[in-house]
Assembly symmetry: C2
Homo-oligomer: 316 residues x 2
């Protein structure tokens, strides 16, 4: 292979992580910068390039690099820009692909983080060989990457696949950061789980280990309590899985995927979350799909997933 | 063009209509048989072939025919079979493509009626030139055909795009023929509209022209009453459009289509139904898509749409 390596970069609100990846998904080298340290986008690009160029030289220079893939919040595949991201220091429209192409000297492809995870899953993870699947990322928010006929669904404007913002509670739904109410994200994100804990604790007298915790409650806290038989913790997973599974049943009606792959911290709760999710999905799906759709946990390692996913973009 | 014509056939519960179509969407000849008259599938195929073969001979024989496209309830693109249709006389799995290929002697492609409408719309109708759109068929039931990257979404098993069975009322939803409750179809199909009329009439004292009608109420009846200022009729369209528009907003989050094209009898009510639908869609869609998605009425003529749509399959 003339160009045996790709560069993957994940731009997060806190860290920007980038690495050199080979065709088997091995990360040869990895480094990072603090995203918020660069208020000027030009300085940010220069800081990344300063660390990245020596890594590229170490594998033989840019002539060995097929391309660079970047996953970023509100990253647009069609335009190569970041458009109006709420969590990054650069406002408005940021010419991400263009500036990195200039700085690094290889073709650059951009998408959002959930789409990058889906491409990573298809290239190196649980969805290898699949032509139709949906990746759901359960993190600070809920994101999704939809693959149809072996291709990511970008839609007319490059922003398709915002399944975290499908309305799952039409009446009296929870307020979402997007300005609307009842989005899936308000129930199944990390924040959503914490809200569910608070609702149950505030509305019942049920004793719970979770009452004693200080600071923001995480899904790890809920898991630890569930392992010790805590009824509130078990109810939190039951509720979260039910809301998620009901939504997944509707997603199946859209694209009839071979599998739905769940990615993110919440999946570490294992059967506590997977079992109610699968049960609600099966109970609510149209009969022609009963027993047909796999519900899988991502096989991308957390620490590597974002860089791997983004890098996979560059092979396309 | 060596093979300048295609055959389109629409299999309905009552009639099966078939015709010869050219590349511009002109229907050169058309005929039909009564679907229910043939309890044996073999006799049905023979009856269609007996009428169709002379039509094919009249345009120069099978060597002038590129293929045959068939739209059928539960028609599966991947297998070419009708699988467990409730409204046809042949039960279980019917080898539709295989038997018609034998009988007619040209390649045969099968899909369901809503997918056929979407392909027809893309080839000859309101979605010409579009690569990403969703066709919603509002008839006895509610069906859909989803186009992504210029391709129909068939999914892993060939049955994708059952948006009439997305749950729009999670609690106390109307009972659906599919065995579940709250499906879009129970609100926005012809039957759904009639149910809405009955609910409003039974639950209020509001005077209405619709109270005087005998037999099943149609969307044409509601339209006629609305034109005369009937408040119940106006409320029926307002309610139906709101439920539909809310659902469309969620569909946009999936595939970010350039347009949603509505097809079927209900669209004949014009602004009475289109205005509340568009308003609810815009009010409920995620802000990145506000003002971006067109809501269109099909440009396929009712009488020709099914045959044209099915015929368009054969060009692919």
């Amino acid at each position: 292979m003339d160009r045996p390596y790709v560069v993957g970069m994940d731009i997060g609100g806190t860290n920007s992580v980038f690495g050199i990846v080979d065709a088997r998904g091995n990360i040869l080298s990895v480094d990072s910068v603090k995203t918020q340290a660069y208020k000027e986008f030009g300085e940010y690009v220069a800081a990344v390039a300063e660390k990245l160029m020596p890594m590229i030289e170490a594998v033989g220079g840019t002539q060995k690099i097929k391309g660079m893939g970047i996953g970023a919040p509100n990253g647009n595949y069609h335009s190569g820009n970041i458009e109006h991201s709420a969590n990054l220091p650069w406002k408005g429209i940021v010419p991400l692909a263009e500036e990195f192409k200039k700085a690094i000297g290889v073709p650059v492809t951009v998408t959002n983080d959930a789409n990058a995870a889906a491409i990573g899953e298809m290239t190196y993870g649980a969805a290898r060989g699949m032509k139709n699947f949906i990746e759901i990322t359960l993190g600070t928010g809920v994101g999704s990457g939809i693959v149809v006929n072996g291709q990511l669904v970008y839609g007319h404007d490059g922003f398709a696949g915002e399944l975290g913002h499908v309305i799952v509670r039409r009446h009296n739904g929870r307020q979402c950061g997007c300005g609307r109410c009842g989005c899936l994200e308000t129930y199944c994100s990390a924040t959503g789980v914490a809200r569910t804990v608070k609702e149950i604790i505030d509305c019942t007298d049920e004793p719970s280990l979770l009452r004693e915790l200080e600071g923001p409650i995480t899904s790890k806290d809920v898991y630890d309590a569930a392992v010790r038989g805590d009824k509130v913790a078990l109810e939190v997973f039951q509720f979260t899985g039910t809301v998620l599974g009901e939504a997944l049943a509707d997603f199946i009606a859209f694209s009839a995927p071979e599998a739905i792959v769940l990615f993110g911290g919440l999946t570490k709760a294992g059967d506590y979350i997977m079992k109610p999710t699968y049960e609600a999905m099966e109970a609510n799906v149209l009969s022609i799909w009963k027993g047909k759709t796999k519900l899988l946990v991502s096989e991308l390692k957390d620490s590597d997933a974002a860089v791997l996913g983004a890098s996979a973009l560059a092979w396309e």
